[in-house]
């Protein structure tokens, strides 16, 4: 963007939010570059939020063609009998997002997520991936960590009325207000791989059951070579068996991962739109915090379940 001052147009458009986070934060936002892969309902919610907030650029990645299911959860794509005329999800979302805020540069990056090398991620300040395999999560996270600059890494997933966000800001320093003083705070994040490798029994008591349940399902999809969300009621016996094995290995009581919860995650894999809205909002908020350097960032997992209504932060890190 142009130099140090916001333009008159920016000041007018962003008036209400500048009153929330200040001119500096707005300036930093407008110079930031965000990458998003996996454009289902939750990621799309996030994209909307971040484009409205006024990031510098947003790069979209999802080569999947538009299907009826994708359409049903996506408010970016105008209804079309022809299913978007064969265009990719990313392409169609891009058209609409551009329209949301002409000041944000929205573009499409074609290709499989796993095909992007370390250098590719150099261009970005924030990388968000959604609905992807365990392997992809680990590998993209590691690529981001190999770069000399800090790239904030996030995953977001929504199954049924449950959701999970993971955050890796590596080594993150920010200013925090305490009483009347400003204190420098520093946080050390674990990578996704490190975090999920922590033995379950050494986690604090009362960690959200969703954390464990998501790991079981994620693991199931990996060993069965399924695409994310490609599960059904027929899989439940196998999933429960896997749960039992994992619990045994981790010395965790099986009741910590209730059958009913696993059943919900395995059976209805569709994203529940209100939960997508909540997750997309919280993720948007977190990305704005990380870019602006203002506010306590979330460390390092967030869970939401519409059934009990709780939105919980869990710190599952090696340090």
């Amino acid at each position: 963007m142009n130099g140090e001052e916001l333009t008159e147009q920016e000041t007018a458009l962003y008036d209400r939010q500048i009153r929330v986070w200040g001119v500096d934060a707005q300036r930093r936002l407008s110079k930031s570059h965000v990458f998003v892969s996996g454009l289902k309902g939750t990621a799309v919610e996030f994209c909307k939020n971040i484009v409205l907030a006024g990031v510098g650029s947003l790069t979209l990645n999802d080569d999947n063609p538009v299907t009826e299911e994708a359409l049903s959860a996506n408010f970016l794509i105008p209804f079309d009998e022809n299913m978007g005329g064969g265009g990719s999800l990313a392409g169609l979302c891009c058209d609409c997002l551009k329209d949301f805020n002409p000041m944000v540069h929205v573009s499409v990056e074609k290709g499989d997520l796993s095909s992007f090398d370390v250098d590719f991620f150099q261009k970005f300040d924030v990388v968000v991936i959604s609905c992807c395999s365990l392997a992809a999560k680990k590998s993209v996270n590691e690529k981001c960590r190999k770069l000399s600059k800090r790239v904030a890494f996030y995953t977001v997933d929504c199954r049924d009325s449950c959701g999970e966000i993971f955050v890796d800001l590596q080594k993150y320093a920010y200013a925090k207000k305490k009483a009347d003083e400003t204190v420098e705070c520093q946080l050390q994040y674990s990578s996704f791989e490190e975090a999920i490798a922590i033995p379950w029994r050494s986690l604090p008591k009362r960690v959200s059951k969703l954390y464990f349940a998501m790991r079981v399902v994620e693991r199931f999809e990996e060993v069965e070579r399924r695409k994310p969300g490609e599960t059904s009621i027929e899989d439940l016996p196998k999933v429960l068996k896997l749960r039992n094995e994992l619990c045994l290995a981790h010395s965790l009581n099986e009741s910590q991962i209730p059958d009913s919860l696993l059943e919900r995650l395995v059976v209805s894999t569709k994203e529940f739109p209100p939960v997508s809205a909540v997750l997309g909002g919280i993720l948007g908020q977190e990305v704005i915090k990380a870019i602006s350097g203002k506010g306590d960032p979330l460390k390092n997992f967030f869970f939401f379940d519409a059934v009990d209504g709780k939105g919980l932060i869990e710190d599952i890190s090696t340090s």
Binding site: E5, L6, T11, Y14, D15, R16, Q17, I18, R19, V20, W21, G22, V23, E45, K48, N49, L52, A53, G54, S72, N74, F75, L76, I77, P78, F79, D99, D160, S161, K177, T182, R264, S268, K270, P273, P274, V275, S276, A277, V278, G280, G281, I282, G284, Q285, I288, K289, K294, G295, D296, L298, F302, V307, D308, G309, K310, G311, L312, I313, E314
Partner: protein
């Protein structure tokens, strides 16, 4: 969760959304995606540029169009097969009556003001339809569910009107205010101490109103010197342009009078300045000493081609960045330029203008005048951007919070309407715990009542579900408990009762007042001429001289036929009222019967009574509004503060049952409100104090 059965139940639901603003856009989108097929949406507003950063269904090209209609069209683009019925109208219109409300499965509020919220609450009670209420400000948000007979209604807990500034304090001493600046560098725009807030109120509600507004309105702009009678006599015409003077001469005279003479006069009251810093009088000649004062004529030429809507003193003076803080000299120039533009280009409007945050010339004038006054009182000056925020009570709004809240509203709507077997828990109220950016809520323009999140018991909980409260048995809205009004029945007129109690406090729009079986007053379209004349005559009568006299011991009934709300008011005669603390000349009791709360209530009434333009508007709320916000939303604080104690399972160290605590809480509310100067920030202080009490 979405089994076939549940989906078809969602499909069959008929939903009313009130408000198509920040929350409304998100809500409409999420409802449509979630499978709702029949959505009605009411919003009287049109789209503005500053909406576009979060009201994502709207584009630049839609500015000026109906929010409800544009929102409908935008959602139908991706969900063409559902029915969305827009109403570009005020929810208080009589067509939206109880029968209208009865057709809905659930009502969802995304409103921006207290007045409309109360109205919808009453209609939902009357129609027995569940209401999901919501609000956001900055990163904070809340969702509450109200079901008649099962949970408290929106009005079960007091909702104080916006805090206003008693005129006497605005006129004389802005520096008396305690400077509450809580987080100076987290957010630079919140630097303004409250001293500057008073300068803004002075510039907006007194000076602007005096020069450009209704001349007949009482306005205490002049400082009373010790011999008040004489000074107010001759100052009456100060603000009237004289026949033989040009605009610049007039402007100079006004400037010298309000910034020079008035301060000089105030200084003569030595008692006032014993414990305060003395202000300094400011005169045009001193500020603009090095340049000839522009004569009428020069300015006119360069302004000829400007069209009315873009008239701007800044443009004229070549000032560009609204974030800049102008010097005293620049403020003085803006003051003159704006005043001259008003008198030369907008002459016709003079006498009828009220301050509007979207009127850039008005904002420029108020910014300049407030800054000059601030300079006089040695208060730091502020940028136009900041001044506009304070003067316009602009709400802090971001898309993300609205999106989250809209998601939670839909979840609650489904729970309150559907018997979703898997969702065994009851309806829930939510608090977004500030995304941990808690300090934002102390932003100076509003006393947003949600700082309790600082003391959040569990740092882990970002979205905190809270079980709803039981109805308040003494709520005058959802129970039949009578109110008590102390009033001098030999002095107060029926008009006072109608304006100060029935419309402003009880929030009735079509009131009907009866004494026994006799009608004293009624509003409606279908009245006979003689009835209208009769009621008009009654309005001007003193209570004790009405055809059916209202005296001590009388019980009157006040009802609103549209809201189907009936209240009984016991009248208690009282001779004397404290002019400063009880400027209404009457005190309404009724929130809680406990005598200990009286003081607190007096204070609330007091605030209510002071006349400023913000009080004249519908009492605005904290919430995403679009914009017109003000002040404190204690409903939020109460529910949440109590809730965190109540949700035992989540709060390891909660000690006492809620009811006991809540009962204690209200009386213990600090009495700082009783102070003559009412601080915007008091709202926060209250919250803070009470959360430690609760």
């Amino acid at each position: 969760m979405a089994s076939g059965q549940q989906l078809s139940a969602i499909k069959g639901a008929k939903v009313l959304m009130v408000g198509a603003g920040g929350i409304g856009c998100e809500l409409l989108k999420t409802l449509a995606l979630s499978g709702f097929h029949d959505i009605h949406i009411i919003d009287m507003d049109t789209i503005e540029v500053s909406n576009l950063n979060r009201q994502f269904l709207f584009r630049q090209s839609h500015v000026g169009q109906s929010k409800a209609k544009v929102a409908r069209d935008a959602v139908l683009r991706f969900r063409p097969n559902i029915s969305i019925t827009p109403y570009h109208a005020n929810v208080k219109d009589s067509s939206f009556n109880v029968d209208f409300f009865k057709q809905f499965s659930v009502v969802l509020n995304g409103l921006d003001n207290l007045d409309a919220r109360r109205h919808v609450n009453r209609l939902c009670l009357a129609a027995d339809v569940p209401l999901v209420e919501s609000g956001t400000t900055g990163f904070l948000g809340q969702v509450t569910v109200h079901i008649k007979g099962q949970t408290e209604c929106y009005e079960c807990q007091p909702k104080p009107a916006p805090k206003t500034y008693p005129v006497c304090t605005i006129t004389s001493t802005p520096s008396k205010m305690k400077g509450v600046v809580k987080d100076p560098d987290l957010l630079s725009i919140d630097h303004h101490g409250t001293g500057f807030v008073h300068c803004i109120v002075w510039a907006k509600d007194l000076l602007f109103a005096k020069l450009f507004g209704d001349k007949k309105q009482d306005n205490d702009l002049n400082v009373r010197s010790n011999d008040a009678a004489t000074s107010s006599d001759h100052s009456e015409d100060i603000f009237e342009p004289k026949k033989d003077e040009d605009i610049q001469q007039y402007a100079n005279r006004v400037y010298d009078h309000v910034f020079g003479h008035n301060i000089q006069t105030a200084l003569s009251n030595e008692e006032t300045w014993k414990n305060r810093n003395k202000p300094r009088p400011i005169y045009v000649k001193e500020v603009l000493s090095d340049e000839p004062i522009q004569q009428n004529g020069n300015a006119e030429k360069s302004l000829v081609n400007d069209n009315l809507s873009s008239l701007s003193a800044m443009t004229y003076l070549g000032l560009k960045n609204p974030q800049d803080i102008w010097s005293l000299k620049e403020n003085t120039r803006v003051f003159f330029a704006a005043l001259k533009l008003f008198f030369s280009k907008r002459q016709k409007e003079i006498g009828n203008l009220t301050f509007d945050k979207d009127d850039s010339l008005a904002v420029e004038f108020v910014t300049a005048a407030a800054n000059i006054r601030a300079a006089s009182f040695n208060i730091p000056l502020h940028s136009l951007f900041e001044a506009k925020g304070i003067a316009g009570n602009i709400v802090h709004a971001v898309a993300t919070t609205n999106a989250i809240i809209a998601g939670l509203i839909v979840i609650e709507a489904i729970k309150s309407y559907l018997d979703v077997a898997m969702w065994t828990c009851r309806v829930t109220c939510y608090n977004i715990s500030g995304m941990k950016w808690t300090s934002f809520s102390v932003a100076g323009t509003d006393g947003v009542g949600m700082t309790y999140c600082l003391e959040h018991p569990s740092r882990k909980m970002l979205l905190m579900p809270v079980e709803p409260f039981e109805p308040n048995e003494s709520c005058y809205v959802c129970s039949e408990t009578p109110l008590l009004l102390e009033v001098n029945t030999n002095r107060a007129k029926l008009r006072d009762l109608v304006e100060k109690v029935v419309t402003s406090k009880l929030g009735m729009s079509l009131p009907l007042i009866t004494h026994g079986s006799s009608l004293l007053y009624e509003v409606g379209d279908d009245l006979e001429e003689d009835e209208v004349a009769n009621y008009a005559a009654n309005l001007e009568k003193v209570l004790s001289e009405l055809p059916y006299a209202i005296t001590g011991g009388t019980i009157i009934t006040v009802e609103d036929l549209q809201q189907e709300l009936v209240c009984n008011i016991n009248i208690k005669h009282r001779e004397e009222f404290d002019e400063e603390k009880e400027p209404d000349g009457m005190v309404l009791h009724g929130w809680t019967p406990a005598p200990a709360t009286e003081k607190n209530e007096d204070a609330t009434d007091n605030n209510n009574g002071a006349s400023t333009s913000s009080a004249a508007k519908p009492a605005a709320d904290v919430m995403e509004a679009d914009d017109e916000l003000s002040i404190i939303e204690p409903g939020i604080e109460t529910i949440s503060a109590g809730g965190k104690k109540r949700k035992l399972s989540d709060v390891p160290n909660s000690e006492a049952p809620l009811d006991e605590k809540r009962a204690k809480k209200i009386p213990e509310k600090p009495e700082s409100d009783g102070d003559v100067i009412v601080m915007l920030d008091d709202g926060n202080d209250d919250i803070r104090d009470s959360s430690t009490v609760v």
